[in-house]
């Protein structure tokens, strides 16, 4: 118990950070059918923008301004590139966002250097929030939870409770009909893409400060958020939420339980040397591959994902 509780809180904090990314990705996907490969790159840009702004004007200004910049960038990309590619199908869109990943990473390296930059939470967030079971829970982790809940709440309100949201939801269901009712579906697309990018920007501005801001940060999270979106069910925000917490928690749990596979599968021991190599692994060593195993399993046994309404 003494380290399960802090581990759980850590998992929630990390899981919510992942969810901020996955929510934007799945929102964009359900509306436009575009799997934005560069989503994690936008997250990285959010962190670097926030770092640069924070150096001039302080952390809090960066926290607000960086996501706005990223959202603007996202809207530009949608308006001027993706829209034109859309006519040629999803594959060119996927290819384009894939190219963006490469180019954004190189730009970041050119502008901000190859190593990590010193982007940290401000002193007022550095203390301890509370102490339980002999472990301190740092304030910045609580801050991640707070920001995630606030921004996701705002998105939910925007989509579920406002007129714009109504049109967005209608466009999700039947874009042609919305178009003929006189709404500019193109603008809605741009808006939603900007929203998703903005969420990624917030996640970056917060995540970059709490974790580490470096050129590899996009590559580290990029595939994980795809896993989340697929496991949760393509287009399902609820699924993305559950999957985020699941995957965020998986690592913590696996590290916490100290077993080797051989402890679980004793009878298989000694059958072959290859199998023994597998069995000698500790549960925590499996942590990096488990999300992908989960994803493949989901796609084989439940192609629509945990909460997806349609098959992927």
């Amino acid at each position: 118990m003494d380290f399960i509780f802090p581990a759980a809180l850590n998992a929630i904090s990390y899981g919510l950070l992942l969810f901020m990314l996955a929510a934007g990705l799945t929102l964009v996907f359900s509306l436009m059918g575009v799997m934005n490969f560069a989503h994690a790159s936008l997250y990285m840009l959010g962190a670097y923008f926030a770092y640069s702004i924070a150096r001039q004007a302080g952390f809090w200004v960066g926290l607000v301004a960086a996501p706005l910049l990223v959202a603007g960038l996202g809207m530009l990309i949608e308006r001027h590139v993706l829209r034109h590619l859309h006519a040629r199908g999803h594959i060119p869109e996927l290819l384009f966002t894939f190219g963006l990943v490469l180019v954004i990473e190189e730009i970041v390296k050119l502008v901000w250097g190859l190593g990590a930059v010193d982007y940290r939470v401000p002193p007022e967030l550095r203390g301890t929030l509370f102490e339980a079971f002999g472990t301190r829970f740092p304030m910045h982790k609580g801050f991640v939870i707070l920001v995630a809940l606030a921004s996701l709440g705002a998105i939910w309100w925007l989509i579920a409770r406002t007129r714009t949201g109504l049109v967005v939801r209608a466009a999700l269901a039947n874009p042609a009909m919305v178009e003929s009712l006189g709404h500019d579906v193109g603008r809605i697309f741009t808006l939603v893409f900007g929203l998703g990018a903005g969420l990624a920007g917030i996640a970056g501005a917060v995540g970059g400060a709490v974790l580490v801001t470096e050129p590899a940060m996009a590559a580290h999270l990029g595939t994980i958020i795809f896993v989340i979106v697929v496991v949760g069910g393509l287009g399902s925000i609820k699924g993305a939420f559950i999957a985020s917490l699941l995957i965020g928690g998986l690592e913590s749990v696996l590290i916490a339980i100290d077993v080797r596979l051989s402890d679980l599968l004793m009878p298989l021991k000694g059958l072959s040397s290859g199998l023994d190599a597998v069995l000698a692994l500790k549960a925590s060593q499996l942590a990096p591959i488990l999300p992908y195993l989960l994803m493949v399993a989901v796609l084989v046994f439940r192609p629509r994902g945990l909460f997806g309404e349609r098959e992927v």
Binding site: L102, L234, V296, P303
Partner: protein, 400 residues
């Protein structure tokens, strides 16, 4: 939409012999006294081309955008390394010429295992699953040092086994011929498969899977079979890479290797018979030659990829064949009048953009161009670049 373009060679009278003679010249490169470095670069082109041909079969024909093709390439490479190091195989008298077959078997085996979960779906889900499988295998890499050799990888010696034709293939020129011939064979196989019923069905799954299913053919079964073929070919290409480098390490199964084949295929031309070869040539030149002049080569490469996706969906081979077709119609003078301005504008814009980037980012190193030009040089160049882009836009309008 991409069109399936079969080799043009067969259609015009002198095409086939010309292409054949060109390929023969390439294969016989060592006879012209190429130094070891250029032979190694040449071998690299052949290996990557063979790899890209297997990918073209998936992506170019069936529209299957895989982000995990390196799984097959890498496993083939590891199998080949183990085969080269195996005393038992040496004792059995396995000739080194047959090593690619071992890679092929490994690739095929991997495709049987991983092909099933990945080919159940097409389109975006296929892309995601292959990405997941790619990460899965790459992540397993360091966990099983027994098979993968850990961080240092597995070292081998291509001269460890004897050959049928040559006594051994230790020397670069002999290895070059072996690798070039095998790569040609693999490329030809991929092109041939594309014209068999399986290849045509694959095209049909891309263009209209629902109709295919209606005709009683399960699209996922077609995709699975295609994956088996592509996996086997990629495995053989991986084995060729083992013969070339005499070491296999984590990068062979990495995401970067999966990305490389995608980039090569798209840049070269996903539908053209020479696309993979041209793509492999481009990547090798940028990676090994351009990288000696600038840190930003990956950036330029990414930019080139994006521009290809946006403006030249048929890749470099598409551009070349367009130019050749137009040249036949317009003649040299007509070409110059028609394309002179846009090409000049594009070149100018490109050069100015490169100058801007180099000055802006490498000034602090205080060397080369960055020292010659003052800081405001970057601003001036970028303005010039903007002007050139506007000129390009105008001249392109004139074209349309």
């Amino acid at each position: 939409m991409m069109r399936l373009q079969l080799p043009r060679a067969g259609r015009s009278g002198y095409g086939a012999p010309a292409v054949g003679a060109g390929l023969a010249l390439l294969v016989l490169l060592p006879l012209f006294g190429a130094s070891r470095y250029w032979l190694v670069l040449g071998m690299q082109v052949w290996v990557l081309a063979a790899y890209a041909y297997s990918y073209q079969l998936l992506f170019g024909r069936a529209g299957m955008l895989s982000f995990g093709h390196a799984v097959y390439f890498g496993l083939g490479a590891f199998a080949a390394a183990h085969a080269l190091n195996s005393r038992a195989l040496a004792a059995m008298g396995l000739p080194v010429e047959m090593i690619p077959l071992i890679g092929m078997l490994a690739g095929l085996g991997a495709a049987v295992v991983f092909g099933f979960p990945s080919t159940r779906r097409a389109g975006t889900p296929f892309a995601m699953v292959t990405l997941g499988i790619g990460e899965l295998v790459a992540a397993c890499f360091l966990m099983f040092p027994g098979f993968f050799g850990g961080e240092a990888g597995i070292s081998t010696n291509r001269a460890a086994l004897g050959g049928w034709v040559a006594a051994n293939y230790g020397a670069a020129d002999r290895a070059y011929v072996l690798i070039a011939l095998w790569a040609l064979a693999l490329g030809a196989m991929a092109l041939w498969i594309a014209r068999t019923p399986l290849g045509l069905l694959a095209r049909a799954t891309r263009d209209n899977a629902a109709r295919l299913a209606f005709c009683g053919i399960e699209p996922s079964a077609v995709r699975f079979r295609l994956m088996l073929v592509a996996g086997a070919l990629a495995g053989a290409a991986g084995a060729l890479s083992t013969l070339l480098n005499e070491i296999v390490s984590v990068e062979s199964v990495s995401l970067a290797m999966s990305a490389n084949v995608l980039l090569m295929t798209v840049v070269g031309g996903p539908a053209h018979a020479f696309g993979p070869l041209l793509g492999a040539l481009t990547l090798t030149l940028m990676q090994s030659v351009l990288s000696r002049f600038t840190h930003a080569w990956v950036f330029y490469y990414g930019l080139m990829f994006i521009l290809t996706v946006l403006f030249a969906p048929n890749g470099l081979t598409g551009i070349v064949s367009d130019v050749l077709r137009n040249a036949r119609q317009l003649g040299a003078g007509g070409m110059a009048r028609r394309y002179g301005a846009p090409v000049a504008a594009a070149l100018l814009a490109g050069l100015l953009a490169i100058g801007t980037i180099e000055i802006a980012f490498f000034r602090d190193e205080g060397i080369g161009a960055a020292r010659v030009f003052p800081a405001w040089g970057a601003a001036g160049l970028s303005l010039g670049c903007l002007a050139a882009l506007l000129w390009l836009r105008r001249s392109l309008r004139g074209l349309a």
